[in-house]
């Protein structure tokens, strides 16, 4: 079973990477860019075969390791 975790900075937390990309894009002439935020995506290949169990397990992984919930939020997608 495949799971995908999106980790993004919570709103309001400074995102220097996103800012740097935003100004680089603007310098390159992409003037249609209003704002950029950068996050991480973690693709997991799981042995679990049950969707709900997989989701529960990945949630635990996020809480204990993958995200620091002080500044990051996460979203889990079970791709099946």
């Amino acid at each position: 079973m495949q799971a995908r975790v999106h980790i993004s900075l919570k709103p309001g937390v400074l995102d220097p990477q996103g800012q740097a990309v935003e100004s680089a894009l603007k310098r390159l002439g992409f003037n249609g860019v209003a704002s950029v935020r950068q996050g991480k995506v973690i693709d997991l290949d799981l042995k679990a075969t049950d969707k709900a169990a997989a989701k529960a397990e990945v949630t635990k992984m996020c809480e204990s390791l993958l995200a620091n919930t002080v500044m990051e939020s996460y979203a889990i997608e079970i791709l099946g």
Binding site: L9, K10, G12, V13, L14, D15, P16, Q19, A20, S23, N68, V70, M71
Partner: protein, 728 residues
């Protein structure tokens, strides 16, 4: 004022403090005003528990240009140059988010130094972690080390030294203390006082967001079990922006545009504007609508208390605004005139055309609370005889175990993650007694070190305070530098507990005595209190950051044995002191008894002697004796130089464990090719000296044991840290 009329949330002020704020205001403060009082009167900004004690530290010497009271201290190093330095803690944020907490700590202290007009030339860091077997320790080490490197490396400032200790008392409250050393021209040192009225106040650097609001008050509160839940927004550092800020500020500082400058650190715009006004004896008026913001809808309270990083406040000469704007635009940074200085003596904050806060500056600063908190001194521990600690059964095994222990093993895993060489002036980076960084383009070098032995301070705060200062002084002397001044970071528990206050005052008194006796004044520092988790305090940890000067860097030495046949001489008196020693812990599992006392007069004699002999070129390697005593020092010298040694002499009057592992203070182990003249000189200088043997071979040969190969020593010494971290 009656309890009913006080708001529920006093933002950390005590009821009495709140009432005082009301009487200063002549009315109840609004939310933004209360926030201003709360941060300015927090422990972090007001030093309310320590102010009266900090005043007792010696702070002057002919070479001191700036003592405590500005963003950093400064000393004269000749040729029209000043060395500017300070240490600062970022303990709580680093526990919550180790990477960002440590990174922004490093960013903050660098800002303090370049605010003074100095280009940072080196960083150091003093770290304390919990027990290695605590489940959080690895993760915290990994994050903190990466964060320190991440920020310093990107700024292009070499990280050249520091220390790492472990103790269970730091399990829930690690210490991350960062020190920065910079160089400025003595005639271009910048200060915070905004002298003059009607002057433009300019904001420069990164935009303001809702980062770390109330960080200053958090740094002044104890951690409870719910720390994970209650924490405020973490500050994220942007070292790239700060690199730009550094270059832009130095470029502007080279002109005559700046009258005063203050970084926005703890308590952000509030403390920077109040400090500039108070030091300049003026009022200040700012319009928050003009503050560059990266979020919308921020309240006055939020803007005033935001701890967004990489920002500065400056008071400019009228008419120089455009020149400043041009420089900041070149570096792609925000710059905006947000107000001006006034003759009202008040901080007036406007937003949306209305007064959002108005506070009289002088009483806010001068009437800040200062407490003489009750304190108790702990009884002095008994002195333990060396013979009361069991002798090692196997010297070789004991040495290997000590060298491979978390306390004494190599910190290479840590410092290889720091760029220690950027700038091409690092003459001696991490791994020596003190780091040496060349003053660019000259023959001069600055020596720097951080030191503290918390187990000594815990056992006897006064002796431990003296020892920390003496050890820093000794480390500088050991490379051949003349120690000039120190900065300190007082990391303690909750000062409202009399035994903690007793520790703090004891340590401070000890530090004061030692710095006076060694002519080693205190020019800057920082206090971090409430380092407790659920009522258990950390070991008292007054970290000393020392700086010394070498006139000609050719006349310095390292601690590695390099010359076959050189005689090894032990300087200083050995009694075999095992109380509070690492050997005692190894042998018994505990440290008990009185820590080794420091004889400050003997310390000074030995240090001056060593320095003179190094300058005379008579010493080829030198190492001070500290944790683990003589045998550990000898092994470290052999490993550093890749050359073994044979020891013949041993003092028969001292039990073997005391001789090899005693932590008697004021001692150095040196290698010299002219032992006879050297011994005679030591005698003339009144410094005890004993010839022990000579350098050579690929192992350590000690009386009565099989040779211990350097290969075995090295794998013990280098093994622990990487293996421990790999198990993450």
């Amino acid at each position: 004022m009656s309890a009913q009329s006080r708001p529920n949330d006093l933002m950390g002020l005590s009821p009495a403090e709140y009432d005082l704020a009301c009487s200063i205001m002549g009315r109840a403060p609004n939310r933004a005003e209360l926030g201003i009082f709360a941060v300015m009167w927090s422990e972090h900004c007001s030093y309310k528990s320590t102010r009266r004690w900090l005043k007792t530290l010696p702070t002057s010497a002919p070479w001191v240009l700036q003592g405590p009271g500005e963003n950093a201290g400064a000393i004269d190093i000749g040729d029209g140059l000043a060395c500017v330095f300070k240490i600062e803690s970022h303990n709580h944020p680093s526990f919550i988010e180790p990477y960002q907490g440590a990174a922004t700590g490093v960013g903050g202290i660098m800002r303090d130094v370049f605010t003074m007009g100095a280009r940072p030339i080196a960083n150091l860091n003093a770290l304390r972690f919990g027990a290695p077997d605590n489940p959080k320790t690895r993760h915290l080490i990994a994050g903190v080390v990466a964060g320190i490197g991440g920020y310093g490396n990107c700024m292009g400032v070499p990280t050249v030294g520091g220390e790492v200790n472990f103790d269970p008392s730091y399990n829930g409250n690690i210490l991350v203390n960062a020190m920065t050393v910079g160089i400025a021209r003595t005639d271009r040192i910048f200060k915070a006082g905004a002298g003059g009225v009607g002057l433009p106040v300019m904001y420069v650097g990164a935009k303001t967001g809702r980062d770390g609001i109330h960080g200053a008050t958090m740094a002044s509160a104890e951690f409870g079990e719910d720390a994970q839940v209650q924490r405020p927004t973490v500050q994220v550092g942007d070292p790239f922006t700060q690199k730009l800020l550094l270059e832009a500020c130095l470029e502007l500082m080279a002109t005559d545009a700046i009258i005063a400058i203050q970084d926005m650190g703890a308590a952000g715009l509030t403390s920077s504007s109040v400090e500039m006004a108070a030091k300049g004896g003026v009022g200040i008026e700012i319009d928050l609508d003009r503050v560059p913001q990266r979020e919308t809808g921020m309240t006055a309270y939020e803007i005033m208390l935001s701890e967004s990083q990489e920002r500065m406040l400056m008071v400019l000469k009228p008419g120089r605004e455009d020149a400043a704007r041009r420089i900041f635009a070149k570096w792609e940074l925000s710059a905006a005139v947000i107000g001006e200085t006034t003759n009202t003596g008040r901080l007036v904050v406007r937003q949306h055309g209305q007064v959002a806060a108005e506070v009289p500056v002088e009483p806010l600063v001068d009437q800040a609370p200062s407490y003489d908190r009750p304190r108790v001194e702990r009884p002095k521990p008994a002195v333990i005889a060396a013979s009361d600690v069991p002798a090692p059964e196997d010297l070789r095994a004991t040495l290997l175990a000590l060298l491979g222990s978390p306390d004494l093993c190599s910190r290479r895993w840590v410092w290889e993650q720091y760029d220690s060489m950027v700038g091409a002036d690092t003459l001696a980076g991490p791994g020596g007694d003190a780091a040496l960084v060349r003053v660019h383009g000259t023959r001069k070098a600055l020596a720097m070190t951080t030191d503290c032995t918390p187990r000594y301070v815990a056992a006897d705060p006064f002796e431990g305070g003296r020892q920390a200062v003496a050890e820093a002084w000794r480390n500088l002397s050991a490379v051949g530098a003349r120690p000039l001044a120190l900065t300190n970071n007082l990391n303690f528990g909750n000062p409202e507990r009399p035994e903690i206050m007793g520790e703090l005052v004891g340590a401070l008194n000890g530090m004061a005595e030692a710095s006076r006796a060694l002519d080693f004044p205190v020019i800057s520092g920082n206090v971090s209190l409430y380092n407790e988790t659920s009522g258990t305090a950390i070991l008292p940890t007054p970290v000393i950051g020392g700086v010394g000067l070498v006139e000609d860097y050719a006349r310095t030495v390292g601690n590695g044995l390099r010359r076959e046949g050189d005689a090894l001489v032990l300087l200083g008196a050995t009694q075999g002191w095992l109380g509070c020693s690492l050997f005692q812990r190894h042998a018994t599992g505990r440290t008990t008894g009185a820590p080794p006392p420091v004889d400050l007069a003997a310390e000074r004699r030995a240090g001056e002697f060593v320095r003179n002999r190094i300058a005379a070129g008579e010493i080829s390697a030198c190492h001070d004796l500290s944790d683990g005593g003589l045998l550990v020092a000898l092994a470290e010298m052999a490993l550093a130089g890749g050359l073994g040694a044979r020891i013949e002499a041993m003092d028969g009057a001292i039990p073997a464990q005391g001789w090899w592992f005693g932590e008697d203070q004021g001692r150095y182990l040196v290698a010299t090719s002219a032992p006879d003249t050297f011994m005679a000189a030591a005698k003339a200088a009144g410094v005890p000296a004993q010839k022990l043997g000579q350098a050579g071979g690929a192992s350590l040969t000690l009386p009565g044991t099989k040779p211990i190969s350097l290969t075995d020593l090295r794998s013990a010494h280098e093994g622990w840290f990487p293996a421990y971290m790999a198990a993450r």
